[in-house]
């Protein structure tokens, strides 16, 4: 029971970390919270379901197409909705919130309220350390999630593009003075943030099927992770995501399943009370 809960917590924790990285990237660079993050996560799930299950595309290709489409949609959202709100954070909050409601209702209209599920990548189960049998699909999701996180870290910490991202999130004006086209960077990073939500979506939806509102709890947890880890901190996302995944699953196993999502909120309140800048956050004035 304990071992399985920890394992489940790790799998979902990696996905939380991935979703939170997308939110954090956008917050760090643009100071915009994308409230439609969860709906883009779900959209990727629907895309990968459509391409793989309905059109018979190879599942890996379907996943990549789904991520690419959501990336393009993210760029479109930035260009049409977010860009005019620069300098007024409040409108971007309102716009993305409305967008999330619109998308939820559009999914309901198009796909219906029923759960849809892209095909499994692998079948069967593996004996984990002789403790319990664990579904191969979940193990694959854990590995894939960890791999994507590793790629994101590599890109941000080691490449030239990553240096631009870090420079801009540290000091926007200085970056501009050094020749960074911040408008284009905003568009790209918003798209990338959405693509990370999409990556989380295609990885997790074979395990947890998509419904029009299934993105809400994932996005909420991602927001809590971002606050917990500290706005804009990448390590904060990873540590916070794993922590929340573990707390939720252990809490569900030993305290109450109905209150699974409440534990995250309790952590959020505690963080705001004790260390409002988050675990890895820079204290702001």
């Amino acid at each position: 029971m304990l071992a399985i809960s920890i394992m489940n917590g790790l799998v979902i924790g990696v996905i939380y970390a991935l979703a939170a990285l997308g939110v954090s990237l956008v917050v760090g660079i643009m100071n915009v919270v994308n409230f439609a993050h969860g709906e883009l996560y779900i959209l990727a799930g629907y895309f990968s379901y459509l391409f793989a299950s309905a059109l018979g595309v190879n599942f890996l290709a379907a996943m990549l197409i789904a991520i690419a489409l959501v990336f393009l949609l993210g760029i479109l959202i930035e260009y049409t909705l977010i860009r005019p709100t620069y300098g007024n954070d409040m409108y971007s909050l309102i716009l993305t919130f409305i967008l999330s409601i619109v998308l939820q209702n559009a999914y309901l209209l198009i796909f219906g309220p029923y759960p849809n599920k892209p095909p499994l990548w692998v079948k069967g189960a593996t004996d984990v350390f002789g403790l319990f049998l664990y579904g191969n699909q979940r193990l694959a999701a854990l590995l894939a999630g960890a791999a994507v996180i590793a790629i994101v870290f590599f890109v941000v910490k080691k490449t030239w593009f990553g240096r631009i991202i870090r420079a801009t999130s540290q000091d926007r004006e200085m970056a501009e003075l050094n020749g960074v086209d911040t408008t284009r960077l905003n568009m790209l990073s918003f798209g990338l943030g959405c693509a990370l939500a999409a990556a989380a979506g295609v990885i997790l939806t074979p395990v947890f099927p998509v419904t029009p509102t299934a993105g809400v709890p994932v996005a909420l947890t991602a927001f809590v992770v971002v606050v917990l880890g500290g706005m804009g901190s990448m390590w904060g996302c990873v540590v916070g995501g794993l922590m929340l995944g573990l707390v939720e699953n252990l809490g569900a196993a030993f305290i109450s399943t109905g209150y699974k999502n409440v534990f995250g909120f309790i952590i959020l309140i505690l963080v705001l009370l004790i260390r409002p800048a988050g675990l890895f956050g820079r204290a702001k004035a």
Partner: protein, 318 residues
């Protein structure tokens, strides 16, 4: 002079509102009563978003607190509904005070994130605590009067809405209202001239929460069945869409928005459950292209008038 004209117009509209339901059937009366609930919700949300620049996604949750607090007290403990509504209002105010004090020192985004999380959590708690709230089945609560009568409810709701609007109007056009605006426009500049930014923000959030709790309590005792639909993101979205479409940051905008959208929702319902999607698309377009809402659009084609309540000095002509 403008003030007098405005007062006359308000009195005329109020008189119109008093006789309006007399010739109507029960169904239009119901629509009007619900609209008045939304007037209170949207106007108080506007106090936050439109006047102090903080976006709360927990306004429906505050209405839920008011409704459930009063509902549980009256249905389980047999307390008088009016006292129940009062307690619900105070409870919502206290929760608002707590949440506001907790996250507003960290800035606006934290308030949005925390209130969104809070509203979801409240929803989960209400659904799970079946013994107390009867979950998704809904909690039956007593009516405000012995004899259930739509017309009486209409006048109670109208009186409540007028009271709330009068309080909000007074607040906005007082010194405090100027502080609200100052915090919204430039936090740093407001701080530098001695506005207690945190205090002003938390106060606005507490007042708005109290109004939502009050409106929610009344609404619950009108519906007679309280369900988790009250503290839901859908209702939160309605309130937001009404304010945004009507005109955020103007006093009349949310009032017009509340009536227009609620009546429109009933019309769209004839064709199916598309109203949320339709409102979402309209709100998206309005927020993007006309951030001051329909009222702002209308004003754009009228000669500019000075903001009411703020005395403007005559500019000497050159």
């Amino acid at each position: 002079m403008a003030g007098k004209k405005q007062a006359l117009l308000s009195a005329l509209i109020l008189a119109g509102m008093c006789v309006l339901p007399l010739g109507l059937g029960i169904y239009p009366q119901h629509v009007l009563i619900v609209s008045l609930f939304y007037v209170m919700m949207a106007s108080s949300w506007n106090l936050l978003a439109g006047y102090t620049g903080q976006v709360s996604f927990g306004h429906a949750a505050m209405a839920g607190i008011g409704a459930y607090a009063s509902g549980i007290l009256t249905a389980k403990a047999g307390i008088n509904p009016w006292i129940g509504i009062g307690i619900g209002t105070i409870l919502a105010a206290l929760v608002g005070l707590g949440l506001g004090a907790l996250c507003l020192k960290m800035g606006g985004i934290y308030l949005s994130l925390t209130t969104l999380a809070f509203s979801q959590i409240l929803h989960i708690i209400i659904v799970n605590e079946y013994d107390l709230t009867r979950g998704t089945m809904g909690l039956q609560v007593p009516a405000l009067m012995a004899e259930y009568d739509k017309l009486s409810y209409y006048y109670i709701m109208l009186a409540a809405a007028v009271l709330i609007l009068a309080i909000l109007h007074r607040m906005i056009h007082s010194n405090l209202g100027l502080n609200f605006r100052a915090v919204q426009n430039d936090e740093l500049a407001a701080k530098s001239v001695g506005v207690k930014v945190l205090y002003v923000r938390v106060l606005a959030f507490t007042v708005a929460s109290a109004v939502a709790g009050f409106a929610g309590g009344l609404y619950g005792h009108y519906l007679l069945l309280i369900t988790p639909e009250i503290p839901s993101l859908d209702l939160q979205f309605y309130v937001l869409a009404m304010t945004v479409i009507g005109g955020m940051g103007s006093f009349i905008g949310p009032i017009i928005g509340a009536f227009a959208l609620n009546i429109l929702a009933e019309k769209i319902r004839d064709y199916g459950e598309y109203h949320v999607l339709v409102f979402g698309l309209i709100a998206l377009v309005v927020a993007r292209f006309a951030p001051n809402g329909l009222l702002g659009l209308w004003k754009r084609f009228k000669p500019i008038k000075p903001i009411q309540g703020v005395k403007q000095k005559a500019v000497p002509s050159p």
